[in-house]
Symmetry: C2
Subunit: 235 residues, 2 copies
């Protein structure tokens, strides 16, 4: 937690926040802060700055806020991710948020098992929490917009072409393309397939919607690794 993200309900006065639970525990056990210390804080969706510790005990952390910095600008990046396995969904969503994507779409695909959508990991409160963890890691305050697209064709044929207006669309698929030479100076939509890849019909649909194939070379990477490597290329 490189930044403590404050929610509107944490504010007990305009410049004062009272925290309990996970953030209190983290500040006590990891930061090992003391009264008078300054911590890096930010208001969800708002400014970042410092919070001076006024009180820190078993029950609460009270901070006096000095919020004077804008959060880093979001990347003009939409990540279109085939829904990962439940075991890795938390890491993928947190990583996507930490990288600064302004929008994350979790998309169905042939090789996404139906059961993944019913996983407890997919509950809105869990997905929200993972994005919060990503922002706290990255020192950011602005949540990505999260969309669940449980039907591949309606999304890819109906919504994706509109997302691509004024920007570039890229489809990561091993063996299909060259290296991305695009950059996030302009909006990019980046599609990353499931374990096992997109099936041919999906590749055709994504290409028809306007995506260009790219790859990262001969190695097959895990979703979270491919995601970061591709975003790193586009920065």
């Amino acid at each position: 937690m490189n930044l403590i993200l404050l929610l509107p309900e944490d504010l007990v006065a305009p410049q004062r926040a009272l925290l309990t639970g996970r953030r209190l525990a983290h500040v006590r056990t990891v930061h090992r802060a003391q009264v008078g210390d300054d911590l890096t804080v930010g208001l969800l969706g708002g400014k970042m700055g410092r919070g001076r510790v006024l009180r820190l005990d078993d029950e609460a952390l009270e901070l006096k806020l000095m919020l004077d910095q804008a959060p880093p600008p979001k990347l003009p990046l939409t990540l279109l991710l085939a829904l990962p396995r439940p075991k890795v969904i938390n890491r993928v969503v947190a990583a996507a948020a930490s990288l600064g994507a302004e929008r994350i779409v979790l998309l169905n695909a042939w090789k996404v098992e139906k059961a993944y959508w019913a996983s407890p990991k997919m509950k809105p409160e869990n997905l929200h929490e993972q994005m919060i963890l990503g922002l706290e890691q990255a020192k950011d305050t602005v949540l990505p917009e999260l969309q669940l697209a449980r039907l591949f064709r309606p999304f890819v044929e109906g919504e994706l072409p509109r997302l691509l207006v004024g920007g570039t669309g890229l489809m990561a698929h091993p063996g299909t393309g060259g290296m991305a030479r695009s950059s996030l100076a302009a909006p990019i939509t980046l599609a990353i397939g499931p374990e096992g890849g997109w099936i041919d019909a999906e590749v055709q649909s994504l290409l028809s919607a306007g995506l260009q194939p790219i790859d990262l070379g001969p190695r097959i990477l895990r979703t979270e690794t491919a995601l970061a490597a591709l975003v790193g290329r586009l920065l």
Copy 2:
């Protein structure tokens, strides 16, 4: 497991392998292979190709091997990683191997807790296993060379300058540099700090050894995310 990695001791005849344990279980439960199917296989340190299933039951998987492809070339990349927390060491090492680094050095740093070095995760057999998992993910057969550098100064002052001969050295450190414009057309040594970053004295030592500072922008990324994003930039 996108490739089943065979060890010399798996070979019961020049073109025949007999597998048990983890790989047998994986082929039965995940690949759901049947006699006559062809699986993607590779010999550790050697060629890749197909293995035809001759036998598959509770006790063993027997494969007839047709190994005729070279593995993908290693990247001329040395990753110099401050030793991560035990909780993430497996993921970091597997990711580094999957990305194709030819050498991984796990290095001490001020913010690396002593206890990390004593973790069971640091046993040679575990680190070896994680690299194997990375190769199986990536479809590669060649292990990175792994070095443990438990003393920062002797490594950075004594060994690092020699590693940099004929190549470029980069030090990832938030806020210090610009984006990397190097590429792995020539050898690169890439240093990535611990959670909390390198301390000033370490930064000075790494710069003195010949590393150039780079960063990925204002966001602070987890080691595994930063690692992939940086390697993605250099590909």
